[in-house]
Symmetry: D2
Subunit: 325 residues, 4 copies
């Protein structure tokens, strides 16, 4: 459902083409300096400004509804809201009849009946990540001085990927990618096994981001090919520093003081301009569908700031819980 976290806890709402998108952030410590200006930098990084991202541009100006007084957090839940403005919804009725391949049209129809708001993907839209980024701005302040930084490693299998994206745009196609996130300065001891390991909580939130289909920590899938004597990170000092970091900074589900590091696989955007086949739910026949509208050719490009946000959100919650010992 739409609430996540034990102490630092977020609740999101909104649809792509509804009146607004927002997030309620509970469990924020008191006395953190916060104003609407603090959100602008990360929100700008999420915006579709580069080639290969959608032409829908929203101003994405946050409104602080609660929980802040005289520019400091009060301990009460913080509401942040964004109005949707640049909305074009004429196309979506078509998709209730011809479900788009790779999209939630079909499953939403089955799960929510005819009542689902499928305009722009509705509540399934990548636009909801706006709420995650907003919560992440606050979480980053809480986890200071931890530094979280994500970047795109490759697109379509290529590390120097600008051309790959351009090509996808030209072909009315899309392309996937891999994004890596690293947090430096994480203290030893975060994570609450058995069930709330660092990997469990980060992956839980990561897979709520539309388009993510895989995640690995440290050596990840490469570890499956290794021997224990190769994979084990040798501890070299009493702070727990290790020579290598094959575990990505997490042992036994708990941070070990080395950089927390993970990578996600982002699938190619499902909405493509190219003609595709799909079933006509009325006739039962397979027909050709052309999806009009504005799409990202490579959603991976917008992912770094979102991954940073979810990492900060998880760490803020784990830090809160860790204080209770």
């Amino acid at each position: 459902m739409n609430t996540f976290g034990r102490i630092f806890r977020i609740t999101i709402f909104g649809e792509s083409h509804g009146p607004a998108i927002g997030v309620i952030i509970d469990g924020v410590p008191v006395g953190i300096k916060l104003s609407e200006a603090d959100f602008l930098s990360d929100l700008a990084r999420r915006k579709p400004s580069v080639k290969g991202t959608t032409s829908r541009v929203e101003d994405d100006i946050p409104e602080l509804l609660s929980g802040v007084f005289n520019e400091f957090t009060t301990g009460a839940p913080i509401g942040v809201m964004f109005r949707n403005k640049n909305v074009k919804s004429e196309d979506y009725e078509e998709f209730a009849k011809h479900p788009r391949p790779g999209h939630a049209d079909f499953v939403a129809l089955k799960k929510f009946g005819g009542y689902n708001d499928n305009r722009g993907g509705g509540h399934f839209s990548g636009r909801l990540t706006l709420a995650l980024v907003a919560a992440g701005v606050i979480a980053k302040k809480i986890v200071e001085p931890i530094k979280i930084k994500a970047s795109v490693l490759e697109v379509g299998g290529i590390k120097d990927f600008e051309k790959v994206v351009e090509e996808a745009v030209l072909l009315n196609d899309s392309v996937g990618g891999i994004v890596e996130c690293t947090a430096n300065g994480v203290p030893v001891g975060l994570g609450e096994p058995f069930f709330d390991s660092v990997e469990s909580t980060i992956s839980h939130l990561a897979f709520s981001i539309p388009s993510i289909k895989g995640i690995e920590f440290g050596a990840g899938f490469s570890a499956a090919k290794m021997k224990g004597s190769e994979h084990n990170d040798l501890i070299v000092d009493t702070n727990g520093k290790t020579g290598t970091n094959h575990v990505g900074g997490v042992v036994g589900g708990i941070t070990n003081g080395n950089p927390l590091q993970f990578r996600v696989a982002v699938k190619p955007t499902s909405s493509i301009g190219k003609a595709q086949q799909t079933v006509n739910l009325e006739s039962g026949k397979v027909e050709e569908l052309v999806i009009p509208g504005r799409h990202d050719a490579c959603i991976a490009l917008r992912m770094p700031v979102i991954l940073e946000a979810i990492t900060a959100i998880v760490l803020a919650d784990l830090m809160a819980v860790n204080k209770t010992y």
Copy 2:
């Protein structure tokens, strides 16, 4: 922490060398036939019977403590307990001073002070997966007729892997592997976005299993190299059947009626007989450590029944929540 699930909810307890390991299973529907014999088959599959698994053998006989009356579930929480019997604990004090590489010794010391029970890995031990398998037995009954089946795909990068394991045993080393799990007959509509997508909930539970460092659904990391026109699964009938299954049966975080499929990366067992270097926490010097005792050379071999269990547990919970609409 140690409770997972919204309606079908499990709470686990126990340590590797403590008196007992167990699980309390809440939210079980009434009237399911259940007796201790039902557990034996899956518990046997988890046992270290093949080459490359530990020589510690427990009888693992489950005791039903509650929630069952006249061999049917009553709706009250079900307690299942296993006594630990074959326990050898002499070695573990050493590891408080010389933390084992790849193990939780160091982080547990930092997080829990000197109070952690590190005998046999304590509460971090893979032995806790016994509780998951027990809960899975009940969950599998709930989700019938869904069929869940997992198997080892490769070990040490090799698909025909018997020799790789034997070699690791001979070398006092260990080796990782990849395990795949598939659920057939899953209905359309399970999964509760935004935060409780199928991928989110399965990965949450998967990463609570010791040694798992990566997970991918469907094409997973391969999707990152694909174009949208290649990756999109075309819908071929009004039941939502797709020609390919690159999404692993999950779209928008919700099951689409095609087989649910994911793979996990299992790291090589951290405990190896080979000498390794680690820090002496008293002197601060790096010293050689030899870990005695009984270990799995390839923990991936014991993983299939555990993955089946967590898949059933997640599906049982998602099915319960899905009924509330």
Copy 3:
């Protein structure tokens, strides 16, 4: 914290004098007809229109932010927001120094440091019940045809209480009261013992309403004076109808099909115009304090619609969970 419920789940935000108050309502079934007009009747009942209630009047016009499409619920979380408009905040700095007796000024100062927004009571304000009433409007639709009705039983110990309130107003004083809530048509079987009994969940939510200091179900405190042979409700038909209803419709924490009935004790409003003594937190001396501003002389008068709301909210959640069996 600020989220309540397992499936039908509400999250509230806002302060008395902040930009807005609102609630996010998750787990709402799809296909319920809903528009802003549906809220007006209950919101009007909460308004301070009668003698003895505050002169602060807000228009309390709800804005639906999400979860509704073409006037039907979609299954996505519903956001409802109210702007605060009629705000006068000049007086509140005084109370950080001279904490008002019976108010949260002192505890909020200690818990949240100087960062608490104490204007109008901030997040502790009775104005937050606006969010509960809004959620209750939706919950009432879900639990149809259950009929929930609350009314004031007595004020200041008097059943015909108009004069008591007038007197309190004249004296710059306030007065408490008792309010009763009854739900007819409740099906047998709601409630989830051991911990989530009907009484547990209703009382949990009831005590979140500012000013409530007691609750009793059925005979309640009178039951403590009774014999078992007097108190036991005899079952008279196979539907479970009982001759008396001393248990208030709840046995073993579960509804028994008879009317669900409880009463709450509402303390007199803490804010009174009369001079009172309190400590000066700077000097440590006890000094006289006169609280200016606009207050309810009898907050119990506004309570019926709020009690109905919380009853509907709890029943909506228990009905959802009950479906999972």
Copy 4:
């Protein structure tokens, strides 16, 4: 359901006549001295030793299953189990046909079908409070130096109540009572409004105790008859000490440093030896029922240690959460 708490979190299981009753206690701080002997004193206070309590006597010897190593808590969940031994179950089939007045027989039949284990009340039995008392023993250690003390105020409306109980025993009847609980030394600032006020969380747990039908904090229902100028507790020093304690130590849902005080109404035991009428669920006719077996004539007498336990449990959790600021 059967789990309660955010950080200090308990999960209970068991039935009156099943193999065992127990509790898993999560979120216990590390390094607390704990052995089975620590439980004996409170468990003895819960036992039916005085006149007017049941003749079923169990030894109630706790077994620590996990979470304790070398007599100190480890941070892992603590399992405590009690075997049921003195079980007589022949009578209970009768009650599936003739539901006992005041008992859960009827609602359990409707909610759980024929599968409910109604022997001795099953999971609804007062015997489950054994698990609460066990968890309370640990919680009391956590909240030290807070002192929690409960006592019976009156039985059947009489403060000197020994004779009232004897009379009820003679008449094969039962009688209700009022029990008060006070916690001294509670720090200022516990409680997490809006929803998790001190009153909300204590009442939630109190109403999970079988037989409790009312709760009031401080002046409680008397407050409903008071004026604000009478009820307001004047603050007399900078520690927040108040002259009176009409609020029972809780303002705005948060502890104010004065004694936390509440009272509960305990209904007379439903099981009485006297003949009673009830419906025959097969014939639909009202018939006479005589309940054989062993019962408490006044369950209120066993309540003090149970109330202390739930108070300690709630405070332990609120203290944990309060540390996160």
